[in-house]
């Protein structure tokens, strides 16, 4: 079955520090990959998506970036975190014409 491993589960970082969140996919190849952010009491906002290695599309202008160095690896980064970057980050994968599967999420608190 398709699985996404996402870590860490929780993270507390000071303002201005760098960020690197990673997710890896098992059980499928060449998936579309997505990074979502969920703010408290709100829905899921799509941040980035990737249809292949090195192919990244950004949905909203922000302080974050994404990379896909390997088919099953998707990384979310920031050079300098802002307070507004706090939230629950979810990595998702999807083969075309099927449902998406999600990682367990990372709770990021910027202090």
């Amino acid at each position: 079955s398709q699985t996404i491993h996402q870590w860490p589960a929780t993270l507390v970082q000071p303002v201005g520090s760098p960020l690197s969140l990673e997710c890896t996919v098992e059980g499928t190849s060449n998936p579309n990959l997505y990074w979502y952010r969920q703010a408290a009491g709100r829905g899921l906002q799509l941040l980035f998506y990737s249809v292949g290695i090195g192919q990244i599309s950004s949905e909203v202008p922000q302080n974050l970036s994404a990379s896909r160095p390997q088919d099953r690896q998707f990384i979310l980064s920031s050079k300098k975190l802002l307070l507004s970057d706090s939230g629950f980050y979810l990595c998702a994968g999807r083969r075309r014409d099927t449902e998406a599967f999600f990682g367990q999420g990372t709770r990021l608190t910027v202090v």
Partner: protein, 116 residues
Amino acid sequence: AQSVTQLDSQVPVFEEAPVELRCNYSSSVSVYLFWYVQYPNQGLQLLLKYLSGSTLVKGINGFEAEFNKSQTSFHLRKPSVHISDTAEYFCAVSDQFIRGAQKLVFGQGTRLTINP
């Protein structure tokens, strides 16, 4: 582009009562539709999906949903809820473009609270 509206942000229900969580979508092209459930501090778990075929879709945990193209709706129903159904529920839509990213667009979520 697609959009999703979940009409109720919170739904309180007594245990063993029926429930309906409403979802309407907007799209100029054919779509796929999904319902996901999220328990606190966890990822999303698929409840059910509509890809094609029968408009009445059955999912896990006794949930079902009906795709109504004319009303652009995909409401989620369960005839008798349990305490364990307390969670956040998300409706999502994507386009069917073969060569596209088929991005999932989510509604704002409905918090279902089951009271004893």
